[in-house]
């Protein structure tokens, strides 16, 4: 076990996407596109849980598919035998099956009458307990409990927090007169519609607390920035000045937003309070300035500008000072998105006529192009920084795709909006990966 773990760390945690996005359509189809396979996957056995067999089936299938789709784990067949967290596993048997780790558990009833999922994770090689937890849940939330357990297993075995219980937002263009803003679990299940509009919706951005989304809506025949509280559906207008209002980005403390306003001519970046008050201009160049993104320490705003003749990425200090150019290679580098640790930046670079997801290591300025796509857009980091979700095109239709950030494993998952019986099921676009679940 420990040998496997150190191996994994040495090659730098090539985490891969676990993202399965389902369109709201009844005929939505999951497409798993694998262009390379991960070596060194950790062999894990997730035994059937004790207790109610139907509930156990839901729970363990969520855990298994989360871990499997992450690309970091190989599922070991458990032979359909239920093992609870209190029974002593026969490690020799699991070793001979090839498992490095084993999870066992049960579903019972908690003191207050709700369902309780308990589990324990074992290191098979060293014959020790690696950890365990109990999650109290109501029946409709069984899947959520499964994601929580998968997160614990992922973290114990890789040393990185899992993102299985996070949420994602994206926009579905059903047709030219119907746009929907969806919120789904990170595996694409449980999609809920937050907003339906006859006009486009773009640039959703999660508040750091995960309760609100800022976005641009064209429902007033011009771009206006809203902040939408997901639980209540209440919306406030954050920027509706004369001209265009767009590209909202939250400050890390959730108190302010960077937005792009044209009220003073051109497209300029302003910092506003989250309630829309106190707009202060950040950029002063007469060129285009847009797509702001805060660095995780809140000190800088990265943005796209054509001040040098072609669109390139720059950064400005919030406290004032010189604007620095960040991207140099090529004639079209846009949409900067900082990684959660602030060390790298995802962006879209035009290469050989295609718009491709790229990552720059900010210390060395080294750029790696991660795809060979024609039309990548809108990169968004998973909160653990291990994958990047993008919008791209497949078969002439907008789909979402997730790519590992180090590019070592070329494994991608993408979701098509509908199946062949519904050729006009629409485009999926504008993804935004939410923060860690509270």
């Amino acid at each position: 076990m420990s040998r496997t773990l150190s191996q994994i760390r040495r090659i730098g945690l090539f985490a891969v996407c676990a993202l399965a996005l389902l369109h709201a359509s009844a005929h939505a189809q999951l497409t798993i596109e694998i262009t390379g396979a991960g070596a060194n996957r950790i062999p894990v056995a997730i035994a059937d849980f004790g207790g109610d067999p139907a509930a156990s089936r839901i729970l363990t299938s969520v855990i298994r598919s989360d871990l499997e789709r992450s690309g970091l784990f190989k599922m070991i067949d458990t032979g359909g035998i239920a093992i609870t967290e209190t029974s002593s596993p026969i490690f020799g048997d699991w070793k001979s099956r090839g498992a490095d780790a084993l999870a066992a558990g049960s579903i019972g009833v908690s003191a207050d009458g709700r369902q309780e999922a308990r589990f324990r994770l074992y290191d098979v090689t060293r014959e020790t307990v690696l950890g365990g937890s109990a999650f109290v849940t109501s029946k409709p939330m069984l899947r959520a409990a499964g994601h929580r357990i998968a997160d614990v297993i992922y973290e114990k075995l890789t040393g990185e927090p899992g993102v299985f219980s996070t949420r994602i937002a994206y926009v579905v263009r059903v047709n030219a007169a119907r746009y929907e803003l969806h919120i789904a679990d990170a595996d694409g299940q449980n999609a809920q519609v937050a907003l339906i509009s006859k006009e486009p919706i773009i640039s959703p951005s999660w508040s750091p607390d995960g309760d609100r989304l800022a976005y641009v809506s064209f429902e007033n025949k011009k771009p206006v920035v809203y902040v939408h509280s997901l639980a209540s559906g209440k919306r406030i207008v954050v920027a509706n000045f004369k001209g265009s209002n767009s590209a909202p980005a939250w400050s890390p403390d959730g108190r302010r937003l960077a937005v792009v306003l044209s009220k003073e001519g051109g497209s300029q970046i302003f910092i506003v309070n989250a309630d829309g008050t106190g707009a202060q201009r950040l950029t002063s160049s007469s060129a285009i300035n847009t797509e702001p993104n805060f660095s995780p320490d809140g000190q800088f705003v990265y943005f796209t500008s054509d001040r040098g003749g072609s669109p390139q990425i720059y950064r400005a200090a919030i406290g004032g000072g010189d604007v620095q150019r960040v991207s140099f290679e090529g004639s079209y580098n846009v949409t900067p998105r900082l990684s959660p640790d602030g060390k790298s930046m995802a962006f879209i670079s035009r290469r050989d006529g295609g718009f491709r997801l790229s990552v720059m290591d900010l210390a060395s300025r080294q750029v790696q192009v991660l795809t060979d796509s024609y039309k990548d857009e809108s990169p968004t980091f998973a909160p653990n920084g291990r994958m990047i979700l993008i919008a791209t095109e497949s078969g002439g239709r907008g789909v979402l795709s997730a790519v590992s950030t180090d590019g070592r494993i070329k494994q991608r998952l993408s979701i098509s909006a509908g199946d062949v019986r519904e050729p006009s099921a629409g485009d999926v676009r504008e993804p935004a990966w939410g923060p860690f679940n509270k």
Binding site: L195, I202, E219, I236, F241, G243, I288, G396
Partner: protein, 174 residues
């Protein structure tokens, strides 16, 4: 006589429709459901476009033409559109009660937000020319739709060229 009454009615409509950020904020609590099937569709109220004076809609009048087309990654108003923009500037100068929304558009290649900014540049260029020729700042608003509302959804140069455009719309038309 009829022709005189119509602009007056329009002016009233304009006054009723003029929006400020505050007014929009007050209406921001629109009933939008956050989850589940009962989500309300947000729609904006349409304005009757049949009440425009005939000179703006008569196909034989240059004022019926509203689009200015641009080159790729460019936001300069080409010489062939100067007469068109000048005619609208003259109309706005002679009809101060009219307001115009200039919507900039781009083709669909590249970043959505960058294209929104590029469309803004195009709308701003038309607005600047109208203002230079006598239209007043209060009559004009330049906004961008970026690549979001393509007139032609094709993926070829003909379609792209059609989408690199700024449209001049009078109140009642947007």
């Amino acid at each position: 006589m009829k022709q005189l009454v119509i602009p007056a009615a329009l002016a009233l409509m304009l006054a009723a429709c003029s929006s400020t950020p505050d007014a929009d904020k007050a209406g921001a609590g629109a009933p939008v459901e956050s989850r589940g099937p009962g989500v309300a569709t947000v729609t904006t109220g349409g304005v009757d476009s049949h009440r425009l004076p005939p000179e703006l809609t008569d196909p034989n009048n240059i004022l019926s033409k509203r689009s200015v087309y641009f080159d790729y990654d460019n936001y300069e108003v080409k010489p062939e559109y100067r007469d068109l923009v000048a005619s609208h500037a003259k109309f706005l100068t002679q009809n101060r009660q009219f307001k115009m929304l200039i919507q900039g558009n781009t083709d669909q290649r590249g970043s959505r937000e960058y294209n929104l900014a590029l469309g803004q540049k195009r709308a701003d260029a038309v607005k600047r020319m109208l203002a230079l020729l006598g239209a007043q700042e209060e009559q004009l608003e330049a906004v961008s739709l970026g690549e979001e509302k393509p007139k032609n959804e094709g993926q070829n140069e003909t379609a792209w060229a059609e989408n690199r455009r700024a449209d001049m719309l009078y109140n009642g038309e947007f």
